[in-house]
Symmetry: C2
Subunit: 337 residues, 2 copies
DNA sequence: GCAAAAATGTAGAACGCTACACGTAGAACA
DNA sequence: TGTTCTACGTGTAGCGTTCTACATTTTTGC
């Protein structure tokens, strides 16, 4: 079935660079890799030839012996603009390095990770992985790994970068309480495994208790799907004893909450206050004016990438970086009245 | 500087599969590639061994001789959820094939394309490329290429998949006119090159003229940046002779328009009607209720991928697939009164 | 039955690069 | 002067696949 493609211009190889520069192939390779034992004169000669011939090393060939200079980013989905912030951070960290990031979106569980290992990524950044520690350790045994958004670091053979989700949740609740809201519900995510969810829910519970609102604790969970979120919110807002505030798992969920509230002709924040998480760009829009917890995705991405490169370069003990979240207050959580 | 990483379990290679199955390496390779000349018995034997050993072919090694079974998707940015729709389509097309998609976000112009060629992608899908035809042809000479959102197909040595942007713009204007809006402005994008922008602006002009509103033609352009869009919209809405409707380049821009209008205490659609493009999920939200032109990203992604695989398999003449857009009417463009 | 054709399997040379193991030359030291 | 270092280059064996060419067996045609 496989026919021949039209002939394409063949690539410049390391051999041609070597012969053009009048040096050995090994010498060119050394220059390429910044390896030890190269004189300035030789480096200059080789670099001139590379430039002249417009040489670009072929990643597959490099990968077969050494590294591919490619990092894999695994996103849980593409709809949340928060991930774009992380991506910005990753790219900032990659500036002035030879590395390139390739993204994938984990459609079917962990098959993407396998695909990336098959493709010889030098390392992986998993963003919000729904995986157990054991499973992550398995992966880490095969490829340098950093997880963003995974709190279980016991015996972890990989690095993690997190915002303090427990604190984030506490800040949200505290902020709402300070603004006079009492019956704070939490709209959480119904997902198989997630240490992030656990932390947020824990923070919510602890802070509610601390605020003397232990009896008002109310966690409802919805799957990521649009319909389900709306149904869940609607049920919550129409319930006999409606909360006066909702702390949402994500800005995206919060926007849906705003939508449902608007449909029910409840006014925000008078009838119902809303707080999101991630401080996405859309929070700023006048139709949302959503108070949100900022976990600075850019920093998360930057640090994760930094750690990953360190790990590729040989570090074997685990490091765990934590960002302190902060409240960005907007109208959606203003004083009740 | 490069230290040794902790020893990782070595991979299963084709050789081990061959020896386990008691056949030659070449035979295993044939099975892997569905090549001609393999008996059922042999195939079964080999597949059993592959399963048993959990063998996965290494893409780098394959790439050195044949293909990597990897397709590269190049997105212009990560913030627009419309791209998630395209991605869904791509994945649908990849189901039951050996191919895997890897995404990249084009930060610095075309350097990502080079990086993907270096990494031996079998083909590329460029989404909304800001490139000239000549430049795209250059790329197409080096790698199978499909562009989504590029209308200049003259002498194109690549395939394209588009929605009919000219029609889309006409539909938007027509819809607004039918609902009694007359002074329809267009909020367009200030970008270096884009045949998509040209088509939309052309459609807008033509339809305005056809509706007898030639004198009301008013195109303002803003760069993608948040601040600039808001400034532009604000200027437009505060101008002496304010339009009564805005047709926006993108839902994202439309949401910003809604934001500015809300801030100015203009009501939608009474004071100002708004129409977007892409029919993103957020359009449905009650705080937006945004009328939008649907160009079915899923179909775009699916078709692009289909064409790309055909092209990889040897097709050399160009094909151009066009999707017909449709209006999805919501409150933001309802009758003026 | 026998030649020709088709089907099935194998050997082994690439693919472009890295990294190990060396070779050489000059400097430093005694 | 010889010996030991150090710095700098080179030759070349793979890395894990694919694919061409060929060898062998089976089927077909008459």
């Amino acid at each position: 079935m496989t026919k021949k493609s039209p002939a394409r211009t063949p690539r410049i190889t390391i051999r041609e660079v070597a012969s053009d520069a009048g040096v050995s192939v090994a010498a060119v390779s050394k220059v390429l890799r910044d390896a030890y034992g190269v004189s300035e004169a030789l480096r200059a000669k080789v670099q001139a030839s590379m430039e002249k011939l417009n040489y670009r090393p072929l990643a597959s060939a490099r990968g077969l012996r050494g590294r591919t200079y490619t990092l894999g980013l695994v996103f849980p989905d593409l709809r949340n603009p928060f991930f774009a912030d992380i991506f910005v951070g990753v790219n900032a960290a990659l500036e002035r390095t030879q590395y390139q990031a390739m993204q994938g979106v984990s459609v079917s569980a962990s098959s993407l990770v396998e695909a990336m290992i098959d493709r010889q990524m030098d390392g992986l950044v998993l963003i919000g992985p729904n995986e157990t520690n054991a499973r992550l350790n398995d992966i880490a045994d095969r490829i340098p790994l950093v997880a963003i958004g995974h709190h279980d670091i016991e015996e972890a053979r990989f690095d993690t970068v997190n915002n303090d989700d427990q604190l984030g949740a506490r800040l949200a609740v505290r902020h709402l309480c300070q603004n006079g809201h009492k019956k704070v519900a939490m709209l959480s995510l119904a997902a198989p495994v997630s240490t992030v969810i656990n932390q947020r829910e824990l923070g919510y519970r602890l802070e509610m208790t601390e605020q003397g609102l232990g009896t008002a604790i109310n966690i409802v969970r919805a799957p990521q799907v649009l319909r389900d979120v709306q149904l869940t919110v609607r049920r919550l807002l129409e319930s006999r004893d409606r909360p006066d505030a909702i702390f949402c798992w994500t800005d995206l969920m919060a926007f849906e909450a705003i939508s449902v509230a608007t449909e029910l002709e409840l006014s925000i924040p008078q009838d119902i206050a809303i707080v999101g998480y991630d401080n996405t760009v859309f929070c700023e829009f006048a139709q949302n004016r959503l108070t949100s917890i900022d976990q600075s995705g850019e920093v998360l991405g930057l640090q994760a990438t930094r750690l990953l490169i360190e790990r590729i370069d040989g570090r074997s003990h685990s490091e765990h970086f934590v960002v302190t979240p902060r409240v960005v207050a907007r109208a959606s959580s203003a004083k009740a009245g």
